[in-house]
């Protein structure tokens, strides 16, 4: 007699077991990744909660940084990040357009590509020394927001170039060929077809650099960040570009290692502010991406 149809053969049962195992292991890995992250954020929030308030964000530190707020550090970080990206974005994006759309493949462009990729892997402390030599001393900018943000810009540049190139390369070659076939110049092709379809990828790459820039301590330590600087509380234009500034990452380092008897909650509160700011920017990147993706056209 024939077995009933659709019942599992021994082989089928084994396959089913393998399938369940694979799914279980893979899902477990995701949990192993997500749980520590949630635990970390939760821990920071609980520990930092007593200090978190609006005035914590908008007032100067007092009593040798043991009390008061973090306004100078918050504003300093904003200045550094914004300035660094204002410099690095146009240079990086235009550079990537040239490398991806114009440059022929020769040993020179391959060398440049290799250099860019390697530059992205250079430790930030090395960038800091370069910034100290090139901007602070040689260019005579002194320790200032300008020098520090230029150093950060140099640090993010290779990553922006790489991510932009990837975004450009994701636009199918057939689109470019179709444009060339109807007599469009390279620039017309880039302007009307390549860039509109790569812009979401380019922007995502740039915005993700915000979080990296905001978190760096080493490059700004040598080039423009200070332990303590009092500025007008709540004034968005309290720093000038030639000033030195405080920064969140540096401030975190300071209150944990250099200040005795700081309240236990203080470093956690600073970390929460840094984290939330970074998450907010990343959320912006995702929102932007979704928005541009819905306009994506193929």
């Amino acid at each position: 007699m024939n077995p009933p149809p659709f019942s599992l053969s021994p082989l089928g049962r084994r396959r089913q077991r393998q399938e369940r195992l694979a799914q279980g292991v893979l899902a477990g890995m995701v949990l192993a990744l997500v749980l520590p992250l949630l635990a970390l954020v939760g821990y920071l929030l609980v520990k930092g909660a007593p200090l978190l308030s609006w005035s914590f964000l908008t007032t100067n530190p007092t009593q040798g940084m043991r009390a008061g707020g973090i306004w100078p550090a918050l504003l300093g970080t904003i200045y550094l990040v914004v300035m660094a990206l204002i410099v690095a974005t146009p240079v990086g994006v235009l550079c990537a357009i040239y490398l991806n759309e114009y440059a022929r493949e020769t040993w020179l462009t391959r060398l440049i590509h290799l250099a860019v990729v390697n530059l992205a892997g250079v430790p930030s402390i090395v960038h800091a020394l370069f910034g100290l030599g090139a901007f602070v001393l040689f260019a005579g900018l002194g320790r200032s927001i300008l020098a520090a943000s230029l150093t950060l810009a140099i640090m993010t540049l290779p990553v922006i170039i790489t991510s932009t190139r990837e975004a450009l390369a994701a636009v199918p070659m057939a689109f470019r060929e179709a444009c060339w076939n109807v007599g469009a110049s390279r620039w017309q092709t880039i302007r009307h077809v390549v860039l509109p379809n790569a812009v979401s990828g380019i922007l995502t790459g740039v915005i993700l650099q915000v979080s990296r820039t905001a978190g760096e301590t080493a490059p700004i330590m040598f080039t423009g960040a200070v332990f303590y600087k009092k500025i007008a509380a709540g004034d968005l234009f309290a720093y000038s570009l030639r000033d030195q500034c405080m920064a969140l990452s540096m401030h975190l380092y300071t209150v944990t290692t250099q200040v005795t008897n700081a309240p236990e909650a203080l470093p956690y509160a600073i970390a929460v502010v840094l984290l939330v700011a970074v998450l907010a920017v990343n959320a912006l990147a995702i929102a932007l991406r979704v928005r541009l993706r819905t306009r994506k056209k193929w």
Binding site: F175, N181, V182, G183
Partner: protein, 254 residues
């Protein structure tokens, strides 16, 4: 009878990619308002030949070309405005490419790149080209939706409309019927018969019967060599000069 001056004249054309030569010295001419078919198996250099005609071969790294290609008597290597040349030599690629923009913009793209800004003229051109490509009736109510949302066959006709939008004098079609159904293919073939009154058509095709239906003369390329070029009746007749032509057109070729 006096032969009219050739629209396209190719002399001893050799093309190599790196060290691999793919066209081994072709020479032929195409007369004005002719439908000129190029047949041959895959890898025989048909597409490469077309890419020489509008100088898009230069975009391929390591491609080297020797010999002379003339369009209207002018050697292409010395053409100063290559973009004007590409507008004169329209090109339809084998796979449909709707650019990621609206149907209207797809067709208006080339005229705009050439500097046409006048709205009324653009409108007229878009309508004319879409009609010529047998697409107008299907899309006239949704010109401002995305070209990439069209079906494959419609996108192919959109590609043809785009190639017509810059008023080419020569239209090159590279296996245009690969992605479209037989009915649409027939309609486009009808369109081509209509268009030949105004332009020269170079048709690369894998379907030998298509060459037979349309072409005045047919060229058989094999492995980058010109095996035979003659009137279509001769190529498809019982006694082409070369045995390989006979075998290929009868489908004995492997």
């Amino acid at each position: 009878m006096v032969n009219p001056p050739a629209k396209i004249a190719v002399e001893n054309l050799r093309v190599s990619y790196g060290h691999r030569e793919v066209l081994h010295g072709l020479s032929f001419t195409v007369a004005p308002n002719e439908i000129f078919a190029i047949i041959g198996p895959a890898q025989s250099g048909k597409t490469t030949l077309l890419r020489c005609l509008n100088r898009t071969l230069e975009f391929t790294p390591h491609a080297r070309l020797s010999g002379i290609v003339r369009v209207d008597g002018e050697a292409l290597a010395h053409v100063a405005d290559v973009h004007a040349l590409r507008r004169k030599v329209g090109m339809v690629a084998p796979l449909p490419v709707g650019l990621p923009m609206t149907i209207y913009d797809n067709v208006a793209f080339a005229p705009r790149c050439a500097g046409v800004r006048d709205r009324a003229e653009l409108d007229a051109r878009v309508e004319r080209c879409l009609r010529q490509a047998a697409l107008w009736d299907e899309v006239k109510d949704r010109l401002h939706t995305l070209g990439t949302r069209l079906s494959g066959g419609q996108q192919q006709r959109l590609t043809i409309a785009r190639a017509l939008s810059h008023d080419p004098e020569i239209l090159c079609l590279d296996e245009f019927s690969i992605a479209i159904d037989p009915v649409t293919t027939m309609r486009i073939e009808e369109v081509l018969r209509e268009l030949r009154r105004r332009m020269t058509i170079v048709l690369v095709t894998n379907l030998v019967q298509q060459a037979r239906r349309l072409a005045d003369r047919t060229m058989f390329l094999w492995n980058g060599e010109l095996v035979e070029l003659d009137r279509t009746e001769v190529i498809f007749g019982d006694q082409p000069r070369d045995r390989r032509t006979y075998e290929y057109t009868r489908g004995f070729f492997g």
